[in-house]
Amino acid sequence: MYIALRILLYLIFLLALLLISKGFRLNLKMKAFVIIFVVFLSIAQGVIGDRVFYPFVYWGMYVSPNPSPDFVEYTIKDVNEIESKYPFEILSFSSPRALEYKLYDLIKACECENSDPIIDKYISSMKDVYSKEIDKNGFIEMKINYITIDIGTKELQEELLYTWNSNSNNPN
């Protein structure tokens, strides 16, 4: 019901935009395109979280009045025990954050702290890309932490979600 209402609201809003501009005065082919575009955008906007309508997607950045100030951090340790953050840009130039969330989704789904074959395989493959692009020795450990920011003190509180170790978790 809520989804249908959202879709309807967006459809009315977008059709009103077409009405006050010249959306309905275009030639038939252009008008057909615009209406299909608007209908699919409205449906995608109503069905939040589901991307079955790609390339029509939900637009709703920075909408929540009470966002949770937290994030997931991927810390790797190289053979010299030096720690750094995993550079997701070597996997995705345009949306590295999206891949961070992809791995986080896998961790949430398994509700485990280590030794999950699917996650270990994923991290091992990330290590292979790291070896190819950054350091041929790769990394020996990855710790995935859930960080909560204290809004008052700005202190970061860490909660360890998952640990991957090259010796104990190598699926190969």
Partner: protein, 305 residues
């Protein structure tokens, strides 16, 4: 300048944006990630109807091949505009790359949506005359078409920018504001967003905004700015009716995108380039073509001339 030149500049700009995005994308590295985690979205699922296609597509060789092929196609499309089939193949190839890029993550990248939709519009309406890079650079050319078809085509391109901004403004005002007492604009929501995006590992690494936010005047100004930007987004359609509103909109939205780079490590540079190409050049004759019911009402109310 006339509409054909502006449309040609936009098409060539779009191709340049995609050449850069594809060249910079480490596409072949996706071949290393496990095949079972690939989750294509929406229409992208068609690409993987035959399961064997996954193992064919996600190989370093194929991903590198399609990357180079698409860049070559884009470059050829810049110079050869009369071969409509060439542009169709180019757009199809870019679309396939976009599907592949998004098949391994859970989020859409809004920065590239306008560029993608606009390319699709150019592909759907192949009869629009386009000047190649060579023709654009040639001086003293006589191109005299400001026909309705070209102004309508420009209107379609403008809608691709206007509609997403309007939807975002609507979403924030109605679902973020109206249903929640508008705390989004005066509570600590913006501070939380800035903190979160400043600390999260990202391609850009600016993190001085949380300290600036500690200054109360600065925090108030940022919240007011957030509300103003949201209202500008909501009323984006006004760009088509009023030259003054268009100038104000551009002067607010472009700095807003630059501020989000420093405050949240988010930079929709593609949108900035497209806004400049669509709304700052060749504007003199466009308002009289963008006649609609809204302009008629505003005229009657003597808000615009």
């Amino acid at each position: 300048m006339n509409n054909i030149i502006q449309i040609s500049i936009i098409r060539n700009l779009l191709l340049c944006i995609w050449i850069f995005l594809i060249a910079m994308a480490p596409l072949q590295n996706l071949a290393y990630l496990p095949l079972e985690n690939i989750e294509p979205w929406g229409i992208g699922k068609i690409l993987f109807i035959i399961p064997e296609l996954k193992s064919l597509i996600y190989t370093e060789f194929f991903l590198f091949f399609i990357k180079i092929l698409t860049i070559i196609l884009c470059i050829c499309s810049l110079f050869f505009t009369k071969q409509k089939w060439l542009f169709l193949i180019t757009v199809f190839s870019i679309f396939i790359i976009d599907i592949i890029l998004k098949s391994h993550n859970g989020f859409i990248n809004h920065a590239q949506m306008a560029s993608l939709y606009m390319l699709i519009i150019f592909a759907i309406f192949p009869n629009i005359k386009i000047l190649s890079i060579n023709e654009l650079l040639r001086k003293n050319q006589k191109i005299t078409s400001n026909s309705i078809e070209y102004s309508d085509f420009l209107y379609l391109l403008k809608l691709v920018i206007i509609i997403p901004y309007s939807m975002l403004g609507f979403e924030r005002i109605v679902f973020g504001g109206l249903f929640n007492g508008f705390t989004l604009f005066y509570g600590d929501a913006l501070e939380k967003y800035i903190l979160k995006t400043s600390y999260t590992h990202a391609k850009y690494t600016f993190n001085f905004f949380p300290d600036l936010y500690e200054i109360p005047t600065f925090a108030t100004l940022l919240n007011i700015g957030f509300l103003i930007v949201t209202l500008m987004e909501l009323f984006s359609i006004g760009i088509l009716f009023s030259s003054l509103f268009r100038k104000i909109w551009v002067l607010i939205i472009i700095p807003f995108h630059i501020i989000t780079l420093f405050s949240m490590n988010i930079f929709f540079w593609e949108n900035v380039l497209l806004i400049i190409a669509l709304f700052t050049i060749n504007q003199r004759n466009q308002l009289r073509y963008d006649v609609g019911f809204g302009r008629f009402i505003l005229k009657k109310l003597k808000i615009i001339r």
